[in-house]
C-alpha cells in the first residue's frame, strides 16, 4: 500500500478515533486486497511504510461486501461492470478473513 496513503490512514484514525473509521477497498486482485486490508488492520506487512509495526485494528471491507448497504441503482452504475469481471468471492473472502483476524472494532 502506498506510503502516502498509509500516513493518511494513520493520521485520520487518530483524528476521528479508530473505532469510528471504516476502510473500504476497491482492489481488483485478491492478493493486494488482502495486503491492503492487513496493512490497515494489522500493520504494513512489507514494513516499508508508516504503518509498519502499527496495528490500527481498523474495520475494513471490500466494496463488494457492502453491496446491500448501497442504493442498488448507484451500485449497479458504479460497480456493476467490474463485479462481473472480477473474482468477487475471492476478494470478499480475503478481506473478510483479514478483518476477522485483525480488526478490533
Amino acid at each position: 500500500m502506498d506510503l502516502e496513503n498509509q500516513k493518511r490512514v494513520l493520521d485520520l484514525s487518530e483524528k476521528y478515533g479508530k473505532e469510528n473509521v471504516v476502510v473500504v477497498l476497491g482492489t481488483a486482485e485478491a492478493e493486494s486486497a488482502g495486503l491492503t486490508a492487513e496493512t490497515v488492520a494489522a500493520g504494513d506487512p512489507t514494513y516499508a511504510g508508516p504503518l509498519a509495526g502499527v496495528s490500527l485494528g481498523l474495520v475494513v471491507y471490500h466494496v463488494f461486501e457492502l453491496k446491500d448497504q448501497f442504493d442498488a441503482q448507484v451500485y449497479d452504475d458504479q460497480c456493476g461492470m467490474m463485479e462481473m469481471v472480477l473474482d468477487v468471492d475471492a476478494l470478499n473472502n480475503e478481506v473478510s478473513s483479514m478483518r476477522k483476524q485483525f480488526s478490533k472494532f
Binding site: 506510503l3 506487512p45 512489507t46 514494513y47 516499508a48 508508516p50 509498519a52 509495526g53
Partner: protein, 347 residues
Amino acid sequence: MIKIVHYINQFFAGIGGEEKADFKPEVREGIVGPGLALKTAFGNEAEIVATIICGDSYFNENLEAAAKEILEMVKKYSPDLFIAGPAFNAGRYGVACGTICKEVQDKLGIPAVTGMYIENPGADIFKKDVYILSTANAATGMRQAVPAMAKLALKLANKEAIGTPYEEGYIQRGIRKNIFREERGSKRAVNMLVAKLKNESFETEYPMPDFDRVTPNKAILDIKKTKIALVTSGGIVPKHNPDRVESSSASKYGKYDISGVMDLTEETYETAHGGYDPVYANLDADRVLPVDVLRDMEKEGLIGELHRYFYATVGNGTSVANSKKYAAEIAQELIKDGVQAVILTST
C-alpha cells in the same frame, strides 16, 4: 543477547522512493521498518541495536566511499551479527545489501545475512560470498522472508552448522561441500543408470557448468535499413587505452565514439587484451573489429548505418557475473540508441 545492526534502504526507512534514492548513509539507534518484523522473529534471542539507512543510488554511485562509511558505522556498535534487507527484486538495493554484507564479513569478521529474489542481480554477484535468503520478488513476501532470515542469522551468530540450501532456504552458493551419502558411489551410479534406462528422474551429483540457452531473435528483414553496432571482447581500444580497460579479469568495459572513423590504424587503436599475441591487432585493429569494411558497406548502402559507438571488453578472465552485467548494460544502451542488430567479435 546477540547484538544486531540492520541495513535498509531509503524506501524501507519510510524516507521515500526513487526521488530520495540519493539519501546519504545515516545511522539510527534502534529499529526502523522491516527491523520490526525481525524483532518479532528474534524474540528474546537477539536485539537490533542500530539501523543503517542508505539511498540505493547513493550507494551504487559511490560504491567504495559508501561501503567504507557504512562499515565505520557498523564497527562502532561491534555487533555479533549483521543483517541487510531483504531486498526482494530491487536490483540496486540487492547489490548494496550484498556488497555491504561481504564487506562486514570480510573486514570485520562479523557474520552477515541478506535476502533477495533469485533473479536480483545482487544475488548472482554475491551468492558465493554471502548467505542470501531466497525471497519472493516483492515486499509482500516480507512475512515469509523474515522468520527464515532470522533463523539462518541466529545459526550463523551461534556458529551452528548451516544445512543445505534446501533446508535453510538460502540461494545456492555454488560451493561444493563434501557429504556422506547412504550408499557407496558405485551403487549410486548403478541406481542412476537404471533410472536413466527407465527414463525415470534422477539427480546428478555434479551438475555441469551452466549451459543456459537463449532463444534466437528474429532475423533482420531489411539489412539496408538496419542500424548495426559493433561490440568486441577482443579488447580494441583507442591508442594508449584511455579508460584503462584491464588486460585480463576485466572489471570495466569501454565505449568509444567512432563517428568519422573510416579505418582503425596502428596510430589510433590497439588491443588491451592480454590473452593473445597483440602484435597483429595492434598493427591493424580492423583485424579484430572490422570498422573499415562496415564503413565501405555503409557508403555502398549495403547496411543502414554503423552505430556511432562501439563497445569493448576483454574476454579472458572476466567473471561470468561481470560480463553478464556489462552485456546487459550495453544491450540496454544499444536498444535506447535505436540499434537493431549487433556484430560481436571475439578472438
